[in-house]
């Protein structure tokens, strides 16, 4: 049969999702924003209020900053993964006898329902988390500019300055700080990739009828993870980053290249999963 697609009905479905599952996601987004913004804001405010030499005079403060940075970033990653998982798990209700009937008998086409599930858990939520992370970086920088308006550097310069100061401070301990900062972003993005893969698989799982899903699910997860780790690690190795490098632009370039390569693959996997998921969704029944 011909599957219809009515955009106003689709928006109605989106409204239902936003009302029934949006609150948890909003809380996750706020938590991620807070956790990534706070350590940066603290550093920015502290560093710009006439204490620019903070790190070069106090290893204790630098250590505290690093400690907080990693803890908060780790917490952000955990929340991002949990949020993505929750977003996809919301649709598991579709498979339950007591709750699935609402979704199945809602007067919208299967194409509308399926694309909504996919959009919500694979596109919208991971994208919102990514944007939140970037926005929190911009907001912390904005706060610094607001407090110290004559400091009109770019965000890249700002990080460069932080890295330079920390690097100077830690030189005696032979610690290369640049990768540490990169690792945060890498960790966050990797966490999001895991979450994205998990969400994609959950969508397939939520929409599946009776088919041999486990081998498929496991293969997709493994492929996504291997690709992500491999492409990022390979990009680092290939660039031959000097151990004492403080050039953030190099790291950015390496990461961008790795992530672009990885994203293409994730996109391909996502597309295949989308098609398989839809075919399964069409055949779905409730027991």
């Amino acid at each position: 049969m011909n599957e219809t697609f009515n955009f106003s009905r689709w928006l109605g479905l989106l409204k239902i999702q936003a009302m029934t599952n949006g609150r948890k996601q909003l809380l996750c987004i706020l938590a991620i924003f807070g956790l990534t913004f706070l350590p940066l804001a603290w550093l920015m405010v502290d560093g710009r209020l006439g204490h620019a030499t903070t790190f070069s005079t106090s290893i204790k403060e630098a250590g505290l900053f690093l400690f907080l940075w990693f803890i908060f970033m780790f917490a952000s990653c955990i929340i991002a993964v949990m949020g993505c998982t929750q977003a996809a798990r919301a649709f598991k209700a579709y498979n339950r006898r007591e709750s699935g009937w609402i979704a199945m008998l809602l007067p919208a086409s299967r194409l509308e329902k399926y694309t909504l599930i996919y959009f919500w858990s694979v596109v919208l939520i991971p994208l919102a988390y990514c944007l939140t992370f970037v926005l929190s970086l911009l907001a912390s920088y904005g706060l610094g500019v607001l407090i110290h308006s004559q400091y009109l550097a770019t965000i890249g310069t700002y990080y460069h300055e932080i890295v330079r100061q920390l690097d100077e401070l830690m030189a005696n301990f032979s610690v290369n700080l640049s990768p540490l900062f990169a690792v945060n972003w890498w960790g966050y993005v990797t966490a999001l990739f895991v979450a994205y893969s998990w969400a994609t698989l959950n969508v397939i799982f939520a929409c599946s009828a009776k088919f041999s899903k486990f081998p498929l699910l496991i293969s997709v997860v493994v492929l996504c993870l291997i690709n992500t780790f491999h492409s990022i690690a390979f990009a680092f190795l290939a660039k031959d980053t000097p151990s004492n490098s403080t050039d953030l632009s190099l790291l950015t370039e390496v990461l961008t290249e790795a992530l672009n390569e990885s994203l293409i693959f994730q996109g391909f996997v996502g597309l295949v999963a989308l098609i398989i998921g839809y075919l399964c969704y069409k055949r779905r029944t409730l027991e």
Binding site: R9, R97, K210
Partner: protein
């Protein structure tokens, strides 16, 4: 409105056949009572009509559509109230605001009146309501949707005595010539004054489908006098009650005894017509 043709069904991966070569035609304008023993497939029949499940063999048509295609044009004219339900964490007004827009004839005034009549708190979250309250909220919403087909699986389960009376009253008033209401229940006493026709499911097929009016015109349901030859009887305390074919000139009963009818039907007293 609903037509099945040699329909057979069993759940995937299960050996037990629920229906075998079931042929049935259900027309609008009536409130049907769907009766059957536990596990006989009443809920499954609803799910097949609504398109949640797909027939293993044979075919089914609902409003001229193949239900399993779940065409939105069909879904907007059908509402199923299942026996068990998990509801989202919203109140009934929020629920109606979200879901009512999908039904073209959804009537807010009707919903508000029904909520009042059924004594449903409009600001309580559906997920925190008792089963009875949830059922009443969904009955009100379903009736406000004004769909052509309304399927209710054990709607009176969990309802208190006064709510059952209100339920019968509101349902009776919603009957229309172009509307079909099917109620599946074990609590047959709740339906006796409400339904216009009976469908009895037994051993994978329909063993009786008739209007109450026709049954009353041909049979007596109740006490059996000494010397009468009932087609089915049982003892109710000291009294013999049963189903007796009416002879020409006999006075018709005014009310059907669904329990007697059901017991008579599953004992094989009625040949399926």
């Amino acid at each position: 409105m609903i037509q099945t043709n040699a329909l057979s069904f069993r759940y995937p991966g299960h050996r037990k056949t629920i229906f075998s070569s079931l042929t049935l035609s259900i027309t609008p304008g009536y409130i049907y009572g769907l009766l059957g023993q536990n596990g006989v497939g009443k809920s499954t029949l609803f799910r097949l009509i609504a398109g949640i499940n797909k027939p293993s063999e044979g075919s089914i048509q609902t409003l001229g559509y193949t239900p399993f295609d779940r065409n939105p044009e069909m879904l907007r004219e059908i509402f199923l109230i299942p026996e068990d339900m998990t509801m989202p964490h919203v109140n009934i007004l929020q629920y109606a605001n979200l879901y009512g827009t999908f039904y073209p004839r959804f009537d807010w005034n009707e919903l508000e009146q029904l909520l009042k009549k059924l004594d449903v708190p409009p600001d309580q979250k559906l997920s925190t309501m008792s089963l009875g309250q949830r059922k009443k909220a969904m009955i009100a919403f379903a009736l406000a949707c004004q769909t052509k087909i309304l399927l209710m699986d054990e709607p009176t389960n969990g309802l208190d005595i006064s709510s059952k009376r209100v339920f019968r009253d509101v349902l009776y008033r919603t009957r229309a010539d172009d509307r079909l209401i099917i109620i599946s229940t074990h609590q047959v006493r709740d339906l006796e004054q409400l339904i216009h026709a009976v469908i009895i499911v037994h051993e994978k097929s329909i063993i009786l489908k008739d209007t109450v009016q026709n049954l009353l015109a041909h049979y007596h349901f109740g006490p059996i006098s000494h010397g009468e030859n009932p087609m089915y009887f049982e003892m109710a305390g000291d009294q013999k009650v049963g189903v007796l074919p009416l002879a020409p000139g006999d006075k018709e009963d005014t009310q059907i005894d669904l329990e007697l009818l059901f017991n008579a039907a599953i004992s094989g007293a009625f040949p399926y017509a």
